[in-house]
Symmetry: D2
C-alpha cells in the first residue's frame, strides 16, 4: 500500500489538527514538521506522534526528497512563496485559505503549480461538512430545480482578539471568503456582481482598520440567481452556520448542529442547548475529510476536490465585496480584478 509522506509547514492550531487527522488515514505518514518557533514543546508533540523531523526551516521540508506533499499552515503572507518553492520542488500542496490577499500574487502561485504539474488543494473545509454536502447533492440532483436565491448565514460566537484584527485581512478575506466559496459551490455558478452593506456594531476597533464586524452582501450569479450572505463577528448564542438554496422546484435548507437533541420543558418554557460552539467543533469531521480526500487524490492521481481556481475565485469576490463597501455601490467582479493592483486603501 502506497504511503504519502507529508511535511507540515506551520505547526499552529490548524497545522496540528491537520497532522492528527492525517495520522488517521492509512496511507498518510507525517514525515516532518516545520515552524518558525519550533522548540522543545513542538519536539515533544512530534515525538509522541513518531514524527522524525522538527525544524524551523520550511525549506528543509520542501527540499527533502522523501516528502511527497506539504501542508502550508503558516501565516497568509508566506503562502505564495511557499507554494512557488514547493511546486518547483515537485511537491503536492495543501494550502490554507486564502492563498493570498492580492490576486496577482495568487495568480503567480497558481501559475507555478500549473507549470510544475503538481496538485494544489485549498482549505475550504466547509465543502466537506455533512450539511452543506447534502444541500449540494439536492441542488445537483435537481430536487429544487433551477436555483433562484442562495442564502448564507455565517456568524462567529466571538470576535477575534483586537490585535488579530489589523492582520486578519478583514471580514471579507478572513471570514466571508468561506461563504463566497460556499455560494459558488452551492449555486453551481460564478458570481458576477456584489453589493456590500457593512457596519461596525460590536467592537469599534474594527473601524480603526477600515474593517466592519457586521455585513450583508448581495450577490448576482452568472446563471441569473441572486444571493445574500450575512456575517457577524459575534453571535452570543454560538456559531451560526446555515444555508438555504431556493429554486424553481423547492428549497434545501440546513440549520446548525447541536451537541445533543435534548429538549427541556419547564414551567418557564422549552429549552435546548446552543449550537456547537465554533469551527473546531462544528467542522471537526469536515477537517478530517478534506485531508483524507487530498491524500486519496494523490494516491489515485485524481483531481483534488477544491483547487487553486476555487481559491482564486473566492478571493476575487472578497476583493469586490470590500471595494463595494468602500465605494458604496454594487461592484462587478471584473472591476476588482482591474483595481486590485492599486491599493484598495486609496479608494
Amino acid at each position: 500500500m502506497k504511503k504519502i509522506r507529508i511535511g507540515i509547514i506551520g505547526a499552529g492550531r490548524i497545522g496540528k489538527i491537520h497532522a492528527d487527522n492525517l495520522r488517521r488515514h492509512p496511507q498518510a505518514e507525517i514525515a516532518a514538521v516545520s515552524d518558525l518557533f519550533a522548540g522543545p514543546e513542538l519536539e515533544a508533540w512530534a515525538a509522541a506522534r513518531g514524527i522524525g523531523t522538527v525544524t524551523k526551516d520550511s525549506m528543509e521540508l520542501i527540499t527533502n526528497p522523501d516528502i511527497d506533499a506539504v501542508f502550508i499552515c503558516s501565516s497568509t503572507d508566506t503562502h505564495v512563496p511557499l507554494i512557488i518553492e514547493a511546486a518547483k520542488a515537485g511537491k503536492h500542496i495543501f494550502c490554507e485559505k486564502p492563498v493570498s490577499m492580492e490576486l496577482d500574487r495568487t495568480e503567480e502561485a497558481l501559475e507555478a503549480v500549473r507549470a510544475a504539474g503538481v496538485k494544489l488543494q485549498v482549505g475550504f473545509n466547509r465543502r466537506f461538512d455533512h450539511n452543506f454536502k447534502r444541500v449540494r447533492e439536492h441542488v445537483l440532483g435537481g430536487t429544487i430545480g433551477e436555483p433562484h436565491i442562495v442564502k448564507i448565514t455565517s456568524r462567529d460566537p466571538n470576535p477575534p482578539h483586537d490585535d488579530y484584527i489589523p492582520r486578519s485581512g478583514g471580514m471579507f478575506m478572513d471570514m466571508m471568503i468561506h461563504d463566497f466559496d460556499m455560494a459558488r459551490y452551492l449555486c453551481g455558478s460564478e458570481v458576477e456582481e456584489v453589493y456590500t452593506q457593512g457596519a461596525v456594531l460590536i467592537n469599534p476597533v474594527f473601524a480603526q482598520y477600515g474593517d466592519v464586524d457586521t455585513a450583508v452582501v448581495t450577490l448576482r450569479f452568472k446563471n441569473g440567481a441572486l444571493g445574500v450572505i450575512d456575517n457577524s463577528r459575534q453571535a452570543v448564542y454560538g456559531y451560526d452556520q446555515r444555508v438555504e438554496v431556493f429554486g424553481s422546484k423547492g428549497s434545501a435548507a440546513v440549520t446548525n448542529d447541536h451537541p445533543n437533541t435534548a429538549e427541556i420543558s419547564t414551567a418557564e418554557g422549552l429549552f435546548r442547548d446552543k449550537p456547537l460552539h465554533f469551527f473546531l467543533e462544528r467542522y471537526n469531521e469536515a477537517y478530517i475529510e478534506e485531508t483524507h480526500m487530498f491524500i486519496d487524490s494523490l494516491v489515485n492521481d485524481k483531481p483534488v476536490p477544491v483547487d487553486g481556481n476555487d481559491g482564486y475565485q473566492a478571493e476575487r469576490i472578497a476583493l469586490a465585496a470590500l471595494l463595494s463597501l468602500r465605494l458604496g455601490r454594487p461592484v462587478k467582479i471584473d472591476e476588482a480584478d482591474a483595481l486590485q493592483k492599486s491599493s484598495l486603501e486609496s479608494v
Copy 2:
C-alpha cells in the same frame, strides 16, 4: 335552507362554548338553554345571543316541539336520564363524555336511542383535532402499514381542584377515557386487554378517593397491536398531547401545538414558548368542528362521526383499567363487563 333548532342543557363552561360554536354554523339556531342555576347572568348571556328561552327545567326543552336536538352538557349523573327522555321525545342528542360511569346505565341510554331512531353523538372532541386526524388519515391510507404500537401521552397542566376529585369519576373515566377513544380511533381495532400502573405523585388527595394522578396503561388490541398511554394530572410545562402510531411500514407521530414558532437564541441557550395551555386553547377548532359535523349529520341525515357505541367502548376500557389498578394484574375488557354491576369499591 333548513335550520336545526337546538336546546342547550347545562350552561356551564362547555355548554356555553358549544353554543357559541353552533352560532357560527349557518344551519344551527340556539332556541333555548336550561340550567339548574339559571338566573340573571345566564339571561343576559342568552339575550346577547338572541336565545329566546332560558329555564331551570331541562324538560321544558326536551318537550318543546320546536326543538330538533339537545346538547347535554350537564353533570355526568344526569346524562342517562336526559338521553332517555330526549330520545323518547324524538330529539337528536349530543352528549358530553362519558355517557355514564356504569356500563349497564350506558346500555340503557343507547337502547333508548336505538328504539327512538334518533342520532346520538358523544363528545370526544379530540377526534376532530387537526393533528390526530392527520395521523388517522395516514393509518387508514396505509402509509405506515399494519399498526404495531400505539403510544399516547396526555398530561394536564394542572390538577383539578381538590373538591372536584371525588366526583370526577377518577383518572380513567374522567381523563384517560379520551385516550382510550383515541387508541381505538387511531388503531382501527378494539382493545382486548389492559394493564394499569398507577401512582399518586402529585397530590395525596387523589389517594383518599382510591384515585391516582399518574398512570401508565398498556393495551393489547384485537388486531394484535400493542398500546401504551401515559397520563399525568400535572405537566408544569403545559398541556401535553402527543400520539404516535408505529407500524410495519413506518410511523406517524404528532407533537404539541404552540402559540407561536418563535425560537429565541441567547448566550444561555435556545428557548421557545410552552405549548398551548389547556384543552380550550388546544382543541378550540376541534370543538367547533365536532358541533358542526353533528349539525351536518342532522341536516343530511348521515351517521354522526362519534356514536353511542364509541362512548360505550371507551367506558368499558376505562372500567377495565380501573379494575386492573385495583387487582394489580392485566384485565380483559370482558372482565370489566362482568364485574361492573357489583361495586368496584368492593374489589
Copy 3:
C-alpha cells in the same frame, strides 16, 4: 354597549372577509356594503348577514349619517379619493394597503384625515400575526439587545394571473410593501437606504411590465442596523413567511405555521405537510385581530395600531426599492421623495 356602524366599500374577497370578521366583534355592526358590481349575488350575501343596504355607490355609504366608519377595500386607485371624501364626512377609515402608489397622493389623503380629525388604520395585517408579534415583544423587551440584522423571507405559493401583473403596482408596492412595514415594525427604526437586486426567473410576463418576480433587497436602518428581504412570486412548497432579528444579545426567529405537527417516518425518509397554503390561511387570525383592534380604537378613542404614517413610510421604501432596481445602485429613501413626482418610467 356602544356599537360602531360600518360601511364596507368594495365587496371583493378581502372586503367580505373583513365583514365576516367584524361580525364576530360584539361592538361592530355592518350597516351597508357598496360595490361597483353589486347585484343579486352580493344582495344574497348581505341578506344572509342582516346587512340592510347594498349599493353600487360608495358615496351613499360615506354620506350616510348612521355610519361611523368605512372599510375601503376597493381597488388601489380609488383609495385616495375615498379617504378624502370619507374624512370630509367625518367617518373613521380602515384602508387596505397601499394607500396609493404615489407619495404626494398619499400625503394628500393623510392631510385630509388630519384635518378632519378622524382615525385611519392601514391594512398591514401581518403586524397582528402571533409569530411576528412574539418577535416584536422580544425585541422591545430587550431579550436580543440592540438589533444588528433583520432578515425577512416572504414568498408566495403562486404568482398572480398574468392580467393582474400590470395593475399590481409591481413587486415592491404590491408584495414587499408588507415586508417593508414589518422591517420598520420589528427593528423599531426607520429605513434610510435600500439596494435592490431583482430578476425575472418565474414568468417572463413580469419583464414586459418592468417588474420582477424574484428580489433581494438590502436595507440600512437609521439606528445602524442592516436588513435584508427576499421575495419570490412562486415557492412551490407554499407560503413562506419567516423573520429573524439578530442582535447584540441574541436572536429571535420565527418560521412557518403548518396545518398539523405530524411527522411521518418511512423507509424513504421523514415527511411533513407543507406550510399553511397562503395568506388567507396563514393570517386568518391576524385579519380578525386587525379589524377588532380598529373597532376597539374607535370604541375607546385610542390610537389605531397601524396609522397613516405607517402606510406612507412603507410606500416611500417601496418606491426607493423600485428606483434602486432601475438605477442599479443603492438609493436613499429621501431620493425617492424627490423623484416621485416625475414618472419612474422615465428613469
Copy 4:
C-alpha cells in the same frame, strides 16, 4: 506516561471497533488479540495496527504478564469463564453485555472479580451517548424535579438474521437489556416490578423460539416512578433511540440523531433524511468514550463508570420481563431471582 497494555479477546466486529477506539487513547496499547478463528486475515489486520500477538487461545492473553487488561468481546457463553480466569490472573476486565444469561453465573463472575480486586466494566455503551448523558445531567441537576415517568423507545432498523434469533438470548436479554440499564441510569432508582406485553408481528421465526419481536414493558421503580419501554426489531425508517424523563418540575426528552439537518421543501411536502442508521453510526462516539473512560479508570485508579452490579441488575430486570411475558402478569424483580435457577422454559 503510564501505558495500559490490552488484550482483545474475540475479534469480531465489536472487538475490532474497541481496538481501533483504544488506539486513539494516548495511554492505551493493544498488545495482543485472540480469536477462535484467528487466521491470515486477522494477522494482517493486527499487523497493520502494530499488534504483536495473534492467537486462537484466549488463555495466552490472560496469562501474559505484560498484559494489564482484557476486553472480552467473544460470545456470551464464554463471558463468565473468561472473567473468572482473567480475574484470577489479576487482569482488569472490560466485558460486553450481558455478563451472562443466568443470574447465578453472573454472581459467580462478580464474586471472582471482587475476590481478585480487579476492575470490571460492562459494555453499556449508551450511557456514554451525548443525548442520554444530557438527560441524566438534567435529572441529577434537579431541572425536572422528582422523576414521575421514564419513557424509552428503542427500535432496530432490521431484525437479526434468522439463525441468530435462537442464540440471541431473546429480546429482553439481547436488546431491551440496554433499555433496562438506561432506565436505572436515568431514573436513579432500582426497578421493583415489570409487566411485559409482547407480540410477534414482524417475523414468525421469533415465535418458534418463544421470543417476541415487539414489546411494551411497564416498570415500577423503587422511588415510586413509573416507566415504559417499547422495543421493535424493525423500524423501517431506521434506528429509533429516544428517551424522556417526566417529573414534578418538567421533562427532559431526546430524539434521534440525523446524518444532517437538511430540510427539503417541495410541492409534495417537507422532507428530511432518516436517523443515523444503526448502533455503529449512532453510538460511534459513545463506543470511543466508554473505552477511554475504562482506560482512565485504570490509569487513575478510579471506579469504572459502569460496573458489574450494573450488568447484574439489568440482567435481573430482563429475566423478570421474560417471566412476565410467560406468566401474563406483573413480576417483581425478586421473583426472577428465585425462579432463575429452574429453567424459564418450564414456566
